[in-house]
């Protein structure tokens, strides 16, 4: 009886060891098999996509990894100067949001002075991720002044609604929606920006679909001597990786009664080109409540400022840093969780900049810290000028003198706002941002000097041009 028991024991141990070894080898085999499969099929077509499918969840069935990232734009995370922070609020009937981003007006009350008399002085919060674009636009307090349907171009997926409204013609639909009241247009759209807005459903190639952008780019290229420019036909893939973002992250205004969305790029993308265009067409966003100056609100000129920076110069596209390549198994996809590169330094920066994360972060924050200081000086100068104009108005100074000071305010304010509203705190083009803010300080202080000494004419260097 002794012997077989020992043999059985040996047998049991042998079986266990053999099983574990087989499991390990088979597991490795299956793992290799999976990786091979992943690299063989970039995606599985489980639904047919065409130009009528708007719902990103349907696209997500074919592209689950990209969709997964896209959904994650709901994340709210702060960076040193941007990002958004979730602030709880009690939902009301008019505004069912239980979370909003922090209020920029509470952070810096000088903004209220700058935008006095304009809707932005009522409600201005830090921007949140793409997922919130439609809700945050629908429920902002700024809606109380009555906004046009134009806003939809960049706050919703409008490709299909425009097409339906225009009988198949994007531009006609765009024009029709522009002149609608916001609430009416709101009923026609269903999603925040979606797959169909940037991708061709058949080939998945990038495409631009925003009529405002197409027109703006056509005007810009016409100014450079290229007629009838169409990015969908001539732009390179790398250019498209910036153009799709440039469709919305830009400066714009609503032209005329029909509230046509226009990108003021006729003279160029630099702040002075844009200001010169506005001066030429005599546009103002509103009349400043304190100083009566005909002022402008800069929106979010990321595309314009980026185009003046070293990254654009080196051929780096928006998507390279904001949607860097990321690996999932054996597949490589661009990260559709669009966000600040500061939250993803490893993939966003280190692909090109071979140095530690801490060093890269410090470099960026150094630039932003300097821009922020200069921005604060410019803001102080502007608030001072507005106070001076207010005093001069009360003292009954001549209208011609006031007009000169208001001109300085318009220019100082637009330049300051161009950097303030831009979402990189100067990083997209550090030296350009510093130049613009320095000019803003100069304009504001010149306005003050003018009020004190009307005979003063500033020295202007002849070295430029």
């Amino acid at each position: 009886m002794e012997k077989p028991s020992k043999a059985y024991k040996t047998l049991t141990v042998g079986v266990v060891v053999a099983a574990v070894a087989s499991i390990a080898v088979l597991a490795l085999l299956v793992n290799i098999f999976e990786r091979k499969q992943e690299s063989k099929n970039p995606f599985f077509r489980v639904v047919e996509l065409d130009d009528t499918v708007e719902d990103p969840a349907v696209w997500g069935k074919n592209f689950p990894l990209q969709y997964d990232g896209y959904k994650r734009t709901v994340d709210m995370q702060r960076t040193r100067f941007g990002g958004s922070q979730a602030m709880p609020r009690t939902p009301t009937e008019a505004d069912p949001r239980s979370l909003v981003a922090q209020s920029r007006l509470d952070e810096d009350p000088r903004l209220k002075t700058m935008w006095s008399g304009y809707a932005f002085s009522k409600d201005f919060r830090e921007e949140r991720g793409h997922a919130f674009m439609l809700d945050d636009q629908t429920y902002t307090e700024r809606q109380k002044v009555g906004q046009p349907g134009t806003c939809m171009q960049c706050h919703a997926s409008t490709y299909l609604p425009y097409k339906k409204l225009g009988g198949g013609d994007l531009t006609k639909g765009f024009e029709a929606m522009n002149s609608m009241p916001y609430q009416e247009a709101r009923k026609l759209v269903n999603h925040p920006v979606a797959c169909i807005d940037c991708h061709d459903p058949k080939t998945m190639e990038l495409r631009v679909t925003r009529p405002g952008f197409l027109e703006g780019l056509r005007n810009l290229k016409a100014g450079e001597g290229v007629e009838n420019y169409d990015p969908n036909k001539t732009a390179t893939r790398q250019e498209m990786r910036s153009f799709v973002c440039g469709q919305c992250h830009v400066e714009y205004y609503f032209k005329g009664k029909e509230k046509r969305l226009v990108y003021p790029w006729h003279k160029g993308l630099k702040v002075e080109n844009i200001l010169a265009y506005y001066d030429e067409v005599g546009f103002k966003d509103w009349t400043h409540k304190i100083s009566s100056a005909p002022v402008l609100k800069a929106q979010h000129p990321e595309f314009e400022l980026w185009s003046q920076g070293i990254h654009a110069r080196s051929g780096v596209a928006c998507a390279d840093c904001h949607m860097p390549y990321t690996r999932v198994g054996a597949q490589k996809i661009s990260d559709h969780h669009v966000r600040s590169p500061m939250l993803n330094i490893n993939r966003a920066c280190q692909t090109c900049h071979h140095m530690p994360e801490a060093e890269l972060k410090a470099r960026v924050e150094n630039i932003q810290e300097r821009t922020f200081k200069l921005r604060n000086r410019a803001m102080d100068a502007l608030v001072d000028l507005i106070a001076d104009i207010e005093k001069a108005q009360k003292a009954g100074k001549p209208e011609t003198l006031l007009a000169r000071a208001r001109g300085h305010q318009r220019s100082a304010q637009f330049k300051l706002d161009f950097i303030e509203a831009e979402n990189s705190t100067g990083f997209h083009a550090p030296q350009e941002a510093a130049r613009i803010l320095a000019e803003s300080v100069d304009e504001a202080r010149l306005g003050q000097v003018t009020l004190r000494d009307p005979s003063y004419t500033p020295t202007r260097t002849q070295l430029e041009k």
């Binding site: 059985y8 047998l11 042998g14 087989s22 080898v25 490795l28 054996a330 490893n346």
Partner: protein, 149 residues
């Protein structure tokens, strides 16, 4: 049935055969033999080095040096020792998917690459070292980072 030692022996032999079969099949399926060669395509079997491979195809060294010429030591034993070591860790990290991206060269491997720069470019390196009269070796890759890929 009474269990005899020869039963055990048969069972053991049979299993060894099955197990060997598993191993062989896995080895062949994973293109195991390609790793014993100098073929650069072996380095992109697992796709992680795709960018480096694509870069090398277009870079100036493509006609004179393949992956192993720069990334493994010249000496035969040292070469296979490094291949075994790197092969093991590459497989380990790729299988468990626990590597950091973008991938970075290790200190030892960087030194190997630098030694290989000097091995092929000996005359010019000697001339540079001579004029620099420096005990610390100059790091070729600090300036010529893009020559390989």
């Amino acid at each position: 049935m009474k269990l005899r030692p020869r039963h055990l022996f048969f069972a053991f032999t049979a299993y060894c055969g099955v197990f060997l079969g598993f191993c062989l099949y896995t080895f062949v399926y994973a293109r195991g033999t390609s790793y014993l060669t100098d073929d650069p395509r072996a380095c992109v079997n697992c796709h992680v080095m795709k960018e480096q491979y694509d870069g090398w195809v277009k870079a100036p060294h493509r006609n004179v040096a393949a992956c192993n010429d720069c990334h493994t030591p010249h000496h035969l034993i040292a070469k296979y020792a490094i291949k075994a070591k790197n092969g093991f860790w590459h497989s380990y990290y790729f299988t468990t998917q626990t590597f950091k991206e973008p991938i970075e060269i290790t200190k030892t491997d960087r030194k190997i690459a630098l030694d290989n720069c000097r091995r092929c470019h000996a005359p010019i390196v000697a001339a540079i070292d001579g004029t620099h009269n420096n005990t610390k070796r100059l790091d070729c890759l600090r300036c010529h980072q893009g020559v390989g890929h």
